[in-house]
Structures are given as structure tokens and as C-alpha cells.
């Protein structure tokens, strides 16, 4: 029997083939990660988790410490991290007026965005290589302009919104082109459009403003011969056909609280791959170990034929009991066919 690498297994899933087992790539917040690291010490957590992705690039970017739990990102946006230590909450509004006239975008080709790629590939060469661009479009726009302002700008200043989104896309595409010079497999765009019910801006405005710009970003990756993985929190499954049409290969986080995970997996099998699925709003923080095990087993059973990459549907938060985290880790790693390598 030929042993497939993690990279080959993810590629097989993305190509619509049946994998030897359901692969996974699970994320954790700093607090949850610290809890896990303490449990597994002295082992290195990344080696224990056996994630099938190696994440490259800077995801949400680089930050300058301003003291007092405040950091500034490369776009100049100040984030309050007094409470949310991982991302934070935007403080103030950089684009107080609907214009880019007085604003200069940062250099997308700053070496810091790509510096980790050779070393990470060297260290985790058997894993599927994902270059990450977080806050990739709508989210980047509202971090600059303010969420309420931007949502009203869709109505009040459509020309400005198009210019802002296209400038962000140009920035991302410049990064994608640079990342494609490395031996990567995919680009992961992260952009939250959903609410617990429906889209924040609705399908009409999404198709009018987001679709054409996102399509350009997706095309830049696909023309480079790589896969596109896309993340949007919330109830966004009404967009799946649009995402497929523009060339997206894989959707995350596949939240079971807002979408019918089994039905969608069945409906889109062969056309859109799903990454995520394990409840982080209910089962992980509030369920019993047995409930977490049962849900994990169901997901693994569903994904056995392919089309699915297991993960909790969000970075696991610090309020999740350690036993619940260990429960799903144990099950995914004990799948027949998986050899801890």
C-alpha cells in the first residue's frame, strides 16, 4: 500500500476523490491553545495536532504594539485587544469620509508577508500549503471605514465602495502573485459576510458589489494553478452556487448552527468541498464529551466518501473544556488509515 502524505490527501479531497480517511485542520484561539499546550507538554502542539494544512503568510497581518492593549495593523487601523486577545476590536475609524483621497495602502509585497514560507514548508513539507489572506475584502473595507458606515455606503456612496473593494483586491492580488512564486497549494481568503440568519448586506448587494471583485481575486489564484479556500462566518449557503461559479474550491467554516451540514455536504459533493462543521457555539462549549464524540463521529462518517475536511467551525475558544477538545482530537486521529507521521 502506498502511503499518501497529508498534502496528497487534501489534494485528493479537493479533486473530488475518496480519501483514505477524513483529513483535518483545526484552529485554536490563544487561550485554548495554551490550555492544550499545557496538557501535551513537553510535546510541541503542532506536531501533536497533526493538522493537514500548513498555514503560510500572516493571515490578519502584522501589528505594532502601541501599549495599553492596543495594536496598529499595517493598514493603520488600531485594534483594542484588552478583551479579544487574538484579533481584537477596531478602535476609531480610519476613513472617516467616503474617500481614498488621503489614504495610502501599505506595501503588499513587504517581505514580512512571505518570510515564513520557506521555513514552514521545510518544517511541514508533507502538509498542504495554504497562503492565508484574512480580512480579505468586505472585512478589510469595514475595518478601515467602520461597519455601519460601510453598510450605509453601499446605498449612499456605491462608487466609493467599488473603489475601496477594488483597491483591496489589487492589494491582495499583488500578494497572491508573489505567493505563487513559492511551492504553495492554495490561497485561503477569509471574509465574514454572514449573520446568524442571512447575509449582513443581503444577496443583491453581495452580488452587485462583492461578487465581481472577489471573482477577480479567485481568478488570480486559479490561473496560477492553485486551489481557493474561502471562509465566511454565518448563514451564507445561499451563495454557494456563486462561489462555485467563480472557482472557489473549498468553503469554511460550515457552521452547523446556521446551515444544514449533512444536506449541504450531500448537495454539493463533487462541486464544493467543506472544511469545518463541528459546533463551536453549542457542542464544544456546552456539550458533554459524549455529545462531542457523537457529532465528530457523524461528521467523519459523512466525510468518508470525500468532499470534507474536518474542523471545529471556528478557532476553538478558551471556554471549551479540555476534555471536549481531547475528545474530537482522539477520534479524528484514531481513524483507520491514518498513520501518525
Amino acid at each position: 500500500m502506498i502511503m499518501m502524505t497529508k498534502r496528497e490527501i487534501i489534494r485528493a479531497v479537493l479533486d473530488g476523490q475518496k480519501p483514505p480517511y477524513v483529513p483535518w485542520s483545526c484552529g485554536f484561539t490563544k487561550e485554548a491553545r495554551a490550555k492544550l499546550q499545557l496538557h501535551f507538554a513537553p510535546l510541541e502542539l503542532e506536531l501533536v495536532l497533526q493538522n493537514h494544512f500548513v498555514k503560510l503568510g500572516s493571515d490578519i497581518g502584522f501589528f505594532t504594539d502601541l501599549g495599553n492593549d492596543r495594536v496598529r495593523d499595517v493598514f493603520g487601523v488600531v485594534w483594542d485587544r484588552s478583551i479579544d486577545k487574538d484579533i481584537g476590536n477596531v478602535e476609531g475609524c480610519l476613513l472617516s469620509e467616503p474617500t481614498l483621497e488621503h489614504y495610502t495602502f501599505p506595501d503588499p509585497l513587504n517581505r514580512r508577508f512571505f518570510a515564513d514560507i520557506p521555513e514552514s514548508i521545510d518544517q511541514y513539507g508533507d502538509r498542504f500549503r495554504v497562503f492565508q489572506i484574512g480580512f480579505s475584502l468586505y472585512e478589510r473595507a469595514w475595518t478601515l471605514r467602520g461597519m455601519q458606515n460601510l453598510l450605509m455606503d453601499f446605498r449612499d456612496y456605491p462608487k466609493f465602495v467599488r473603489e475601496l473593494l477594488n483597491t483591496i483586491a489589487d492589494y491582495n492580488i499583488a500578494q497572491v502573485k508573489e505567493a505563487l512564486k513559492y511551492d504553495i497549494d492554495a490561497v485561503y481568503y477569509g471574509d465574514d459576510w454572514g449573520q446568524q440568519r442571512g447575509l449582513q448586506m443581503g444577496p443583491k448587494l453581495w452580488r452587485e458589489f462583492i461578487y465581481p471583485v472577489l471573482e477577480r481575486m479567485v481568478r488570480a489564484v486559479r490561473e496560477g494553478g492553485k486551489y481557493v479556500l474561502l471562509h465566511s462566518c454565518g448563514d451564507v449557503d445561499e451563495l454557494f452556487n456563486d462561489l462555485i461559479d467563480m472557482g472557489v474550491n473549498c468553503f469554511n467554516p460550515f457552521q452547523p448552527e446556521v446551515m444544514d451540514v449533512p444536506a449541504l455536504l450531500q448537495k454539493y459533493r463533487g462541486r464544493l468541498i467543506f472544511h469545518g462543521g463541528l459546533s463551536t457555539q453549542i457542542s464544544l462549549p456546552y456539550g458533554t464529551i459524549e455529545q462531542v464524540r457523537a457529532e465528530t463521529r457523524r461528521l467523519l462518517q459523512m466525510g468518508r466518501e470525500g468532499g470534507y475536511i474536518f474542523a471545529p467551525a471556528h478557532d476553538v475558544e478558551g471556554d471549551v473544556p479540555l476534555e471536549n477538545i481531547l475528545a474530537f482530537i482522539e477520534l479524528i486521529q484514531s481513524q483507520p488509515g491514518f498513520c501518525n507521521n
Binding site: 455601519q148 446605498r155 446568524q196 442571512g198 443581503g202 457555539q281 475558544e317 471556554d319
Partner: protein
């Protein structure tokens, strides 16, 4: 169409300049301020809520409608005070301690205002103690607590417990909402109601006031 119909439509369309203009005209023509409020602004926001529920409106439409409604309300408020027109009720609203997310809370606040409530916004990261102080200071009919993440959701129960400890629980209804919040959770922690979105939060608040008055 009548002036009130036009005013109502301008709020639904999110056209705040027209709303302002029509409110000014209606006031100049000595139309009773309560009628302008109820048949013009509140009636429009009820329709906005209905369209949000039916999927015709999303957050952008709700925001521009609320902005138009507020622009009219600012002009109308002194006249409502002069005519001794009372608000439907008073709501103290906030996002609970440890949570800095505000758009959901803001939308609920706007829809409550659009339903005729007086809204006292405590902002984000609001401690249980601050809610208790606000109940003593403002004597609201309702407290509305928002939380976006599972790590902060339990703080809603702390608010209820603190109100009970302070002997204030019987004075005020508590409603909760936010992405991870459910009706079941609301019942479990002893809240008086849960709404899955801003439009239904306004409906819920009105029902609670009717129950109280009834």
C-alpha cells in the same frame, strides 16, 4: 399620497433629507406631534422590521431607514416633550462585560427607538454592576443585553443574578440576544425574552410592555 404617507415612505426608502423636510412641514402645519411620530415614523419602522423579517431588507436598508427616522425624531422630540407625549417604554441596552461588539446592539437600539421606546445605550463591555446602577438611575421597563460570543454569553446570567441580589429584578424585564443566544438559553437563565434579530427585539419589547400594562 398624504404628507404622512410620504414621510413614512421616505423613512422606508432611507431618504433622510425628505423625512426631515416632511417632519418640518407637518410641524409647521400644526399636525399633532404624536400623530407624526406614530403614523409617520413608527409606522415606517414597523414596515422596515417586516421587510427585514421577510428578507426584502438587510442591515444596510435597516441602517439608512433608522437614520432617516432619527433625523425626523430629532426635530420632533422637543414638540413631543412640549405636548407631554410619553415614550412607549424605556429600555436600557448594552453589550455585556467582556464583549466589545456593538453593531447588533446598535441595530436593536435603533429598532426600539423606531418603535417609540426611549433608549439608554450603555455601550459595550457593560458590567452587571453598571446595569444595576442604570436600573436605579433610569428606572427602565426593560433591560436588553447583547453578546456575540460564547465566552461572554454567561455574563447575561450575571446581570440577572445581580439584579436579583439588588432587589430590582421584579422592577424590570430582561431581554437578551446575539449570535450564540437561543430561546432555550434565555429560559434557562431566567430572562424574560429572547429575539433572534433587531426587528423581532422591537416586537418582543412591545409585547412585554403590553403584558405589563395589561
Amino acid at each position: 399620497m398624504s404628507k404622512l404617507d410620504d414621510m413614512r415612505q421616505s423613512v422606508i426608502d432611507g431618504d433622510m433629507n425628505v423625512t426631515r423636510e416632511l417632519v418640518q412641514k407637518a410641524l409647521a402645519e400644526k399636525m399633532p406631534p404624536e400623530k407624526i411620530l406614530k403614523d409617520g415614523l413608527i409606522s415606517a419602522m414597523e414596515e422596515v422590521g417586516r421587510r427585514f423579517e421577510s428578507g426584502d431588507f438587510y442591515v444596510p436598508e435597516m441602517l439608512v431607514s433608522a437614520r432617516a427616522m432619527k433625523s425626523g425624531l430629532v426635530l420632533l422630540r422637543p414638540h413631543l416633550v412640549a405636548a407631554n407625549v410619553q415614550a412607549v417604554g424605556k429600555v436600557v441596552i448594552g453589550t455585556v462585560k467582556g464583549d466589545l461588539h456593538d453593531i447588533g446592539k446598535n441595530l436593536v437600539g435603533m429598532m426600539l427607538e423606531g418603535a417609540g421606546f426611549e433608549v439608554v445605550d450603555l455601550g459595550t463591555d457593560v458590567s452587571a454592576e453598571k446595569y444595576v446602577s442604570a436600573v436605579i438611575e433610569h428606572r427602565p421597563d426593560i433591560i436588553a443585553c447583547s453578546a456575540l460570543i460564547t465566552t461572554t454569553m454567561p455574563r447575561m446570567e450575571s446581570v440577572i443574578l445581580s439584579l436579583t441580589e439588588a432587589g430590582l429584578r421584579h422592577q424590570v424585564r430582561v431581554i437578551i440576544g446575539g449570535a450564540p443566544v437561543t430561546d432555550e438559553y434565555a429560559k434557562r437563565i431566567g430572562a424574560d425574552g429572547y429575539a433572534p434579530d433587531a426587528a423581532l427585539a422591537a416586537v418582543l419589547a412591545k409585547e412585554l410592555i403590553l403584558q405589563k400594562d395589561g
